[in-house]
């Protein structure tokens, strides 16, 4: 936060000055919300960066990390002047596919690549492909229900809503959740909104339901929504704006999009309702494990977080990854990717909290920097 504001302002002023500002420039309003001082064990600090290489790098993928990449890009641009990254926020599925098709230099995905995708990625790289986690983002179960703004849901109730087991807001199961007793829940059908395209958010959300509400959510996981109810909209923003426009609707979306009419529900995993906040997410992160400990593939196993019931810990979150090659055929690309990821893991982390993300913990940062260093 400290770094970001002045930087943004300077950037705008500087670039505006470059142009013949004949009729004045846009007012550069500050509108990035009140910066909360995150309690997360934030990765801070800065690192020596070997700038250079391909510019602009091209990247594509998760819409969930789009805003984070913009922050990283700004930091990267400052650290390595003139170096840029083009990031297309088209969805995690697209990110992996474009990466595997050799159309982009790195992909962005909300779930680590594995199986067939990993094979294809290894083939594309001619070396092992790596998952580098750079951003932690809470997923909100966001709803829009007039007259109700303090809803608490249990994983079981969420699962039932998203697979059609609960169809109406006045269902006794919702009322029965601790904290909802006093709510005046209307007789209104629940409109479930999901992502219509392949999405890492969907994947994480469904994994969460599979872990936290095993007995109810039997549909499995995957990047396509498998709940079989409601309707789908495109992109994080698409679902958010659909929910805004429809009273009685509910969706799952990255917390940054859960605002202005999309209220995040509290989640009660058995130890009371937990609000979505940076501190509560950070509390959850302690339970994170690596899927392949000891390697540079930093794919995380979040099942421990999803099924935990630590009091005050918000369990529904995703880590979003950059999919990179451990060895690029073009050294120019490798150099730029390394520089970018290094900046992202250091200078880029702190401003994230203003954008609704949670910076990666210190311990993870060390591993990320080590893995990035070994890219060639």
């Amino acid at each position: 936060m400290k770094i970001m504001r002045p930087l943004g302002a300077v950037g705008i002023v500087a670039s505006a000055a470059l142009v013949l500002a004949a009729c004045g420039s846009d007012p550069s309003a500050s509108n990035s919300g009140s910066g909360s001082n995150s309690a997360a064990p934030a990765a801070t600090g800065t690192a020596q960066v070997d700038c250079g290489g391909k510019s602009p790098l091209s990247a594509e993928g998760s819409t969930a990390q789009k805003n984070a990449i913009e922050v990283f890009n700004q930091a990267y641009n400052k650290k390595c002047s003139g170096q840029k990254v083009n990031y297309n926020g088209t969805g995690s599925g697209a990110g992996v596919k474009q990466f595997n098709a050799n159309q982009v230099d790195f992909g962005g995905s909300d779930s680590p690549i594995k199986d067939a995708d990993l094979e294809a990625a290894t083939k594309r790289c001619a070396s092992p492909a790596l998952n580098i986690p750079l951003v932690v983002g809470p997923i909100a179960v966001g709803y829009h229900l007039s007259g109700v703004d303090n809803l608490t849901l249990t994983p079981q109730v969420i699962a039932k809503i998203f697979n059609g087991g609960i169809k109406n807001w006045n269902d006794p199961a919702i009322k029965a959740v601790k904290g909802n007793e006093s709510l005046n829940l209307p007789d209104k059908p629940i409109q479930v909104v999901s992502r219509s395209e392949e999405s890492g958010t969907t994947d994480n959300f469904q994994k969460y339901l599979g872990a936290a509400a095993k007995d109810v959510w039997t549909q499995g996981a995957g990047k396509k929504f498998v709940g079989g109810v409601g309707n789908g909209a495109q992109g994080s923003n698409g679902v958010a704006s659909t929910v805004k426009g429809a009273d009685g609707s509910i969706t799952y979306v990255e917390s940054a999009f859960a605002k202005d009419g999309v209220t995040p529900a509290k989640i009660d995993s058995g130890s009371g309702g937990v609000e979505l906040s940076a501190e509560n997410v950070a509390k959850s992160l302690d339970a994170a494990k690596f899927a392949h400990p000891g390697t540079n593939d930093l794919a995380m196993d979040l099942n421990g977080i999803y099924s935990s019931n630590v009091p005050g810990a918000y369990p529904l979150l995703l880590t979003t990854y950059e999919i990179v090659c451990s060895k690029y055929s073009n050294p120019d690309v490798a150099k730029a990717v390394k520089a970018f990821l290094t900046v992202a893991a250091t200078d880029g982390q702190q401003p994230l909290s203003a954008k609704g993300y949670v910076p990666i913990p210190q311990s993870l940062q060390d591993k990320v920097l080590k893995a990035v260093k070994e890219i060639s």
Partner: protein, 304 residues
């Protein structure tokens, strides 16, 4: 003409128009006027939406002189220079390819074509003009990316747009060439000028004014296409002058990108960007249409 005839000088056969006929006529008149009004509503509504919402960012110089590379998604500032460059480049490259082809086809149809091939060509131009833009995009994708293994780029977009532009150019050029009086051709032949020279020096210049207008209209139309952009090129928030490599932004892509990743609430940055880009695109198209008219005037054959 009809007004004078409605009251004929001599007494008509049917002096009285019966009530039923009057009512029918009245109903028809009302319906026709109504459909006119119904058509005006969405027209005005769309234009009003674009202008009223888009005007907020347009008047600032940075909107025209900067890209979105240095601003975050929720920061006011930056501009669409990158997208304007992309839209114009892709449009111009598309025109450079499709105009000669379209003109040659039109000349063939008017001056040479007969028989089966001419019929087939006319027919195929008709069919081509009905090819949905997404199908054109798929074709180029199948050719450019899948078969040739080349990366997505602005040039691939231009190629897809060529498919959409050729039939429009052929149609308008053909029509303009056909109305060139034959006297001109004959006079030229009589002077011993070869046919190809007659076409190049006499027929084309005569029709040039109309042809240019048609080309500009076609250009304006392909510049607003979105479907090929989605499939064939990535978005970037930076200026990219190189149409052959890398991501390249364009105005429709800006709208689509903001729609997918930014807030669309009235008053938000994403909302302003979407409608700002829309207004910019409409303005560019309007300017091109205007240019078409002006150019047509300038090159129009002098009348003495």
């Amino acid at each position: 003409m009809s007004t004078t005839l409605e009251r004929p000088a001599t007494t008509p056969a049917f002096q009285q128009v019966s009530a039923a006929r009057k009512v029918k006529n009245g109903v028809a008149t009302v319906l026709v006027w109504l459909s006119f009004l119904i058509a005006v509503v969405p027209l005005v509504w769309v234009l009003y939406t674009v202008i009223a919402n888009g005007i907020k960012r347009i008047p600032y110089s940075n909107w025209w002189g900067q890209d979105f590379g240095s601003v975050l998604g929720d920061e006011v500032g930056g501009g669409v220079l990158h997208a304007i460059i992309g839209t114009l480049l892709q449009g111009v490259v598309c025109a450079v390819i499709s105009v000669p082809i379209g003109l040659l086809v039109a000349i063939y149809l008017v001056e040479y074509g007969r028989g089966k091939l001419a019929k087939a060509t006319t027919f195929m131009v008709d069919i081509l003009s009905g090819v949905p833009s997404i199908v054109a995009a798929l074709f180029i994708y199948a050719l450019w990316v899948t078969t040739l293994g080349l990366p997505r780029s602005g040039f691939a977009v231009s190629l897809a747009l060529v498919l959409l532009m050729i039939p429009v150019v052929v149609r308008s050029a053909e029509e303009m060439l056909r109305i060139v009086p034959d006297d001109l051709r004959e006079a030229s032949y009589a002077l011993g000028v070869p046919k190809w020279k007659t076409i190049m020096k006499i027929v084309l210049p005569t029709a040039l004014s109309g042809i240019l207008g048609g080309i500009m209209m076609a250009l304006a139309r392909v510049m607003g296409e979105t479907a090929p952009l989605l499939v064939l090129v990535g978005y970037t928030s930076y200026v990219n002058w190189n149409i052959f490599s890398g991501e390249q932004a364009s105005l429709p892509l800006v709208m689509n990108n903001e729609r997918a990743t930014n807030s669309m609430d009235p008053g938000s940055v994403g909302f302003d960007r979407i409608w700002g880009a829309a207004l910019t695109l409409v303005l560019i198209i309007a300017v091109i249409n205007l240019l078409a008219t002006v150019l047509s005037r300038i090159v129009a054959p002098k009348k003495k």
